[in-house]
């Protein structure tokens, strides 16, 4: 079941810009629509919606989260084969394969090169064939957000 945009939507375009699979469309100032065929239920739109105008597949209204509370991928780099499945699926362009320390070094791995671009969708974790990417809410920020561990 795909996510859904309610009539609380003001057409601010934030969700459309952040959606990692380009599933949201709509004009500025108009209610936006989620393409249900495309939606992967990553929750990025809901995390970012200041109007809390997005419901999940079961119709629950989802709460906005501060950017610090968005989950971030953590990559076990020593197990990474640098196969680029995560790099390829990340439309935000946050992940790259690290550059070798010395010419010819094969010791490279996927890394979050542009953490600010990451929208916390988790598609990388889902795509990783080795299952070595986990989505975690940064610890320090959890405290800041007032959630006890």
């Amino acid at each position: 079941m795909a996510y859904f945009i309610t009539d609380a939507c003001t057409g601010c375009t934030v969700c459309a810009k952040l959606c990692p699979v380009c599933a949201v469309s709509g004009e500025r100032g108009q209610r936006h629509v989620i393409n249900e065929k495309r939606c992967v239920e990553c929750g990025v739109c809901a995390n970012a919606c200041s109007q809390e105008g997005i419901t999940d597949g079961e119709g629950r209204v989802l709460r906005k989260k501060s950017r610090a509370q968005w989950p971030k991928p953590v990559i076990k780099k020593e197990e990474c084969s640098a196969c680029q499945m995560c790099v390829h699926i990340c439309t935000a362009g946050a992940i790259s394969i690290s550059l070798p320390d010395t010419r010819g070094s094969l010791n490279v791995f996927a890394e979050i090169r542009e953490p600010k671009k990451c929208v916390g969708c988790g598609l990388c974790a889902d795509a990783c064939p080795l299952g070595i990417i986990t989505m975690e809410v940064p610890a320090a920020d959890v405290t800041k957000g007032g959630v006890s561990s």
Binding site: K37, R38, Q84, H88, T91, L106, V108, P129
Partner: protein, 632 residues
């Protein structure tokens, strides 16, 4: 069982319809080039001009594409071959295949001809024909930059637009170079095919598969070829090895060694030009070279490109090769056929037969020549027709280095006679990969099965051709099959007495290989050491695929393509090499440095279960569950 869904697109009428693949076809042909060959046999009449509106091109994937199994971004494009008139199949590691599957289709069957330049777009299971007039004329790189970044793309460059006989297709920086399918796209006015979607790619046994993938990746990382040699040096690492074995074509295959080979070797490339290695998406091998042209990082040349724009032209300018490789890619030209055709033109010039403005030892004007070829300007329009066409017009058939019309790759078969047999019998024409790549076991690998000896070569060629064909059909990269060579040989090294003994003894293994092929129904096991792809296929598709049935799949693909060739008028007589390779010893003092096709070919036909004219026997087709294709 999740059956593949194809779409049929008629560009003339603009009609599209879904084309589900039956369970029987899925179980028998699986996907990729095997299924494409069968569909071409079913859906097209014999004798079509590849550029006619009725001709059909199939872009399809294998079941492993996009599943996350290692080295599985390779998708296939098949059609009628512009250069040979037989089957064309070309393979590419770009992201288009994975994206096509996510968009909802396993393959596209494209026929007809669009009135004006078009882009076929596949999004979330919907197919649209879009106008691409604004993209026409752009090179392959610029075309892709103009299209939205998130799409999977498959495009042609000016070479395809102008129907260059060896025009290829680009997906990202990856090329499906061979057989001129770019020109077939151009003839249909297809500038690009794009795909996007988020469909989950089906896997029958996800948990087992995930465990298997982890094991497979670890295995690839540990093996010397896939974990060390290819990542460090890429295929470019073969230049020095081929040169040492006299198997490096030099000056249009006049010789097999080149004194400055090291200047264009993988080692020199790695030490002086390489910025880093990279790879196709999903691949842990990462054989791709990254190099700089000015301040731009681009894909570096492969072994064949180094050999053909270097030694085979009597030249050794590494920077020029890097540049020419890039120029061919953005023009949408196959580097092998382009460079081989130019080398043939150089020999025509050397012999005073015809001067196209190219000569051995000088590659300084080739960028301009390639641009003129891609746009078919002036006399270069003749070079755009390939070496077979040139030799028919100007003579020189004896040294026009192609088989069936497709230019051979950069392995000198007179020092690798099994490779020679492979070139001659390969369904798409003179291709090292379609040919079984015996060079790896004869002259450029750790093992050296006496390169001049014809014994056992036919059997090994059949075995390897079938294996490579099946790997390709699965959607895997052929390099992932290199782990087939036992690791212990790399630990011992090529000069160790045991390795050398095995090379010598291997010429007596013909009957063993034939027995192995005969025992296929009994090979109901899978092992990482032999064909890991079979196990991956079993877990992904639910088809009971084992080592034996996997080899059968390759055999079936090989026979299907062969039947297509026979239907289009090719015969056993076309399983031949230019006389330079069969009649003129590479080394005058060693009379055996020729390819003895008279010895190799009959045994090859027999091992394949074909008659003396190279036609599959009825019982062979029956064994392969394709008796319905038999014609008396």
């Amino acid at each position: 069982m999740n059956l593949p869904l194809y779409a049929k697109i008629d560009l003339t009428t603009g009609k599209t319809e879904s084309y589900p693949i039956s369970e029987a076809y899925f179980r028998t042909y699986v996907g990729g080039k095997a299924l494409a060959a069968r569909l071409l046999l079913d859906l097209t009449p014999a004798g079509l001009d590849p550029f006619s509106s009725e001709s059909t091109v199939i872009v399809n994937t294998g079941p492993l594409n996009g599943t996350g199994a290692p080295s599985t971004s390779r998708f296939n494009i098949s059609s009628k071959n512009v250069l040979t008139g037989g089957i064309a199949s070309s393979n590419c590691g770009g992201t288009f295949g994975v994206m096509l599957r996510r968009a909802g289709y396993e393959g596209l069957i494209i026929t007809g001809k669009a009135e004006k330049p078009c882009r076929i777009d596949v999004t979330d299971g919907e197919i649209a024909l879009l106008d691409a007039t604004g993209l026409w004329g752009l090179d392959a790189e610029k075309t892709q930059e103009e299209l939205p970044a998130h799409l999977g793309k498959l495009v042609i460059g000016p070479g395809g637009e102008n129907l260059v006989s060896y025009a290829g297709l680009a997906s990202g920086e990856r090329m499906a170079g061979r057989c001129g399918i770019g020109a077939v796209f151009g003839s249909k006015n297809i500038k690009a095919v794009t795909a996007y979607g988020t469909r989950r790619i089906p896997v029958e046994k996800p948990e087992e598969f995930s465990r298997f993938v982890k094991k497979w990746v670890r295995f690839l990382k540990k093996h010397t070829m896939t974990g060390d040699s290819l990542p460090h040096y890429g295929s470019a690492g073969l230049v020095n090895k081929a040169n040492a074995s006299h198997a490096l074509p030099t000056k249009n295959f006049q010789k097999g060694t080149y004194e400055f080979a090291d200047d264009v070797s993988g080692e020199t490339l790695a030490e002086t030009r390489l910025t880093r290695n990279s790879g196709c998406v999903s691949c842990p091998i990462r054989c791709e070279r990254r190099v700089m042209i000015g301040d731009k990082e681009v894909k570096g040349p492969e072994y064949e490109t180094l050999g053909f724009f270097g030694p085979n032209m009597g030249a050794h300018d590494l920077d020029a090769i890097i540049r020419l490789n890039y120029v061919c890619d953005i023009l949408g030209l196959d580097t092998i056929s382009a460079a081989a055709t130019i080398a043939f033109a150089m020999e025509l010039n050397e012999r005073g037969i015809k001067d196209f403005g190219v000569k051995f030892g000088d590659v300084s004007n080739l960028e301009e020549i390639l641009n003129r070829i891609a746009r078919r300007e002036g006399e270069c329009s003749e070079l755009a027709n390939g070496s077979k066409w040139l030799s028919e017009k100007y003579g020189g058939q004896d040294y026009a280095m192609h088989a069936k019309g497709l230019e051979m790759a950069s392995y000198e078969p007179r020092r690798s006679v099994g490779m020679g047999l492979g070139y001659a019998t390969s369904n798409r024409g003179g291709c090292h990969l379609g040919g079984g790549y015996m060079a790896l076991l004869e002259s450029v690998g750790v093992l050296s099965i006496s390169p001049q000896d014809t014994r056992a070569k036919a059997e090994w060629t059949v075995f390897l051709q079938d294996a490579l064909e099946a790997i390709s059909t699965a959607g895997s990269c052929l390099f992932s099959g290199q782990t087939f060579v036992p690791q212990i040989l790399f630990n011992l090294g090529p000069n160790h007495p045991i390795t050398r003994f095995m090379g010598k003894a291997a010429v007596f293994t013909g009957p063993v290989v034939r027995l192995l092929l005969a025992m296929r129904p009994l090979l109901r096991f899978n092992t990482l050491l032999l064909m890991p792809h079979a196990e991956a296929l079993r877990l992904v598709t639910g088809i009971p695929m084992y080592t034996g049935s996997f080899l059968d799949l390759g055999d079936r693909a090989y026979n299907a393509e062969r039947l297509y060739n026979l239907r289009e008028g090719l015969t056993g007589k076309d399983d031949a090499l230019p006389r330079r390779l069969t009649d003129v010893p590479q080394d005058e003092s060693k009379k055996n440095t020729v390819v003895r096709m008279d010895k190799l070919l009959p045994r090859y036909y027999k091992t394949r279960g074909w008659d003396k004219d190279g036609k599959p026997r009825q019982r062979t087709l029956k064994r392969l569950e394709m008796a319905d294709l038999w014609q008396a």
